[in-house]
Symmetry: C2
Subunit: 282 residues, 2 copies
């Protein structure tokens, strides 16, 4: 679990770093970014996980996410992992498509050959990386974690949060894939990583998890109305209905005129972080 | 002066756009970005110009600058031009170096062959683009403008501001080149664009302009102490001395541990914009 520092830069009075380590879960080197805000010596800070969407690495949100000002203001550590294993020997989509394989791990533990060998992103995010953070960032208070994400990463945040309600005090998402079983991105990924038997998919489907009894105190979702993927891939109304039927509290905000990009995410990032901070510091 | 809209995206309740037009100054197509914050119908808003540094286009600050939140809060239009003419037939550095030619126009009107043909960035920024903005953005109040920039763009902001004190109500810079006559970047650029006769350089040198009597009500500069270019290229103490000697008000803040990157710029962008807004709205 030795950690290699690729860069550490001062930003908003804290330190924005990028790190690499050899992952036992994915059997590849993995990179991630961490922002540690200014804090007193010995102070322990809550940890916010941000899971990125298709095609992204840690770099997209690190450069464009506009999270540091609020993290500095509220004292939040912000962690951005990669979206898949990478490197020579890591299987990719047979056509090199953007929505499966490299950059598209979907936060699952793959069971199908050849993806099972490296695509163990659920274990990586849920188990391995938290240990790496706890060991290498002494200011991280692992008893106060929350999780958010965008698109495929919103799917990751919701499903990981719903499976681990005792660990994450706040769960939110920007334009998440809420019903992968019912949309093309999800069907391609889940069949490709897990096989055609849909009974194996339900633990990776936020709608199915809530229908199956998983609960969180509250969930916040922002969704742009001008998002090109809204009608075919995202379908937040499906999750709204499932939550309404199950009595799961959900705040779904349709944001007029916003698209799927980091211009949308950065517009509401500070708002999400303040919402997380309220729950992490209460 | 017809303007082509390359993209317009909703962000922070305003519109972040990227536009292209055929420049008469540079005789090339030129691209720039404009953020128009939310505002009431018919409201006129002050205009902040941001000039970028070596290698940059409008895209760097547009993606990484973290300016939109404060522009939305204070009602500022934010304009980011390109740093040079581009395209086939535009002369470049003979070795393709990053610090001269493409991406390195230095905000001068070149007089030397072959650069004089297209490298007329002073006229472009001072004269042509303001007319394009006034004509195409009806909410822009061209009687209230200010200017800022980074590195080479800080040099641009200071020299353009000092030459036009009646136009720009606020002038600030991040890690600017303040004494191009005395540092390698400036010597290469000014000799390449203007020739070896240094009498032609002084109107493009902030130190020389202040020594020659140019004055502004106030100037704000932030400079990181961990900036790799500080000692050889930036030398803010030279400008401090010239301003002290001349009685020019200067607030030079040495920011401990910050480098030359957009992590530095974005850390202090909101602060600069608030400083501009105070002067644009008084």
């Amino acid at each position: 679990m030795a950690l290699e520092t690729l860069s550490e830069v001062r930003a908003h009075d804290g330190v924005q770093g990028v790190y690499r380590h050899d992952s036992t879960a994915t059997k590849t080197p993995m990179e991630f970014s961490v922002f540690v805000p200014p804090h007193a010596a010995g102070e322990k800070l809550p940890v916010v996980w941000y899971l990125s969407g298709l095609t992204c690495t840690h770099a997209n949100v690190t450069e464009k996410g506009e999270f540091r000002e609020m993290c500095a203001k509220r004292g939040l550590i912000f962690i951005a992992p990669d979206t898949s294993p990478r490197g020579e020997g890591v299987a990719d989509d047979s056509d090199g498509a953007y929505d499966f394989g490299l950059g598209a791990g979907f936060y699952v533990n793959a069971t199908k050959t050849p993806f099972a060998q490296h695509y163990q992103m659920r274990d990586y995010i849920e188990t391995e990386l938290p240990h790496v953070i706890a060991k290498n960032f002494p200011s991280a208070d692992m008893s106060r974690q929350s999780i958010m994400g965008h698109s495929m990463g919103g799917h990751g945040a919701l499903t990981i949060g719903l499976r681990n309600p005792e660990r994450y005090r706040a769960v939110s998402a920007f334009a998440p894939i809420v019903a992968p079983t019912d949309v093309p991105w999800g069907q391609k990924a889940l069949s490709g990583y897990l096989g055609e038997d849909q009974s194996a998919w339900s633990e990776y489907d936020a709608c199915a998890l809530v229908r199956g009894g998983a609960r969180l105190p509250d969930i916040l979702i922002d969704q742009g109305t001008a998002d090109n993927f809204l009608a075919e891939q995202l379908k937040p109304h499906l999750f709204q209905k499932v939550c309404d039927d199950a009595g799961q509290s959900l705040t779904l905000r349709m944001q007029d005129g916003y698209d799927h990009s980091y211009y949308f995410i950065s517009s509401f990032m500070a708002d999400h972080l303040a919402w997380h901070a309220d729950r992490l510091k209460s």
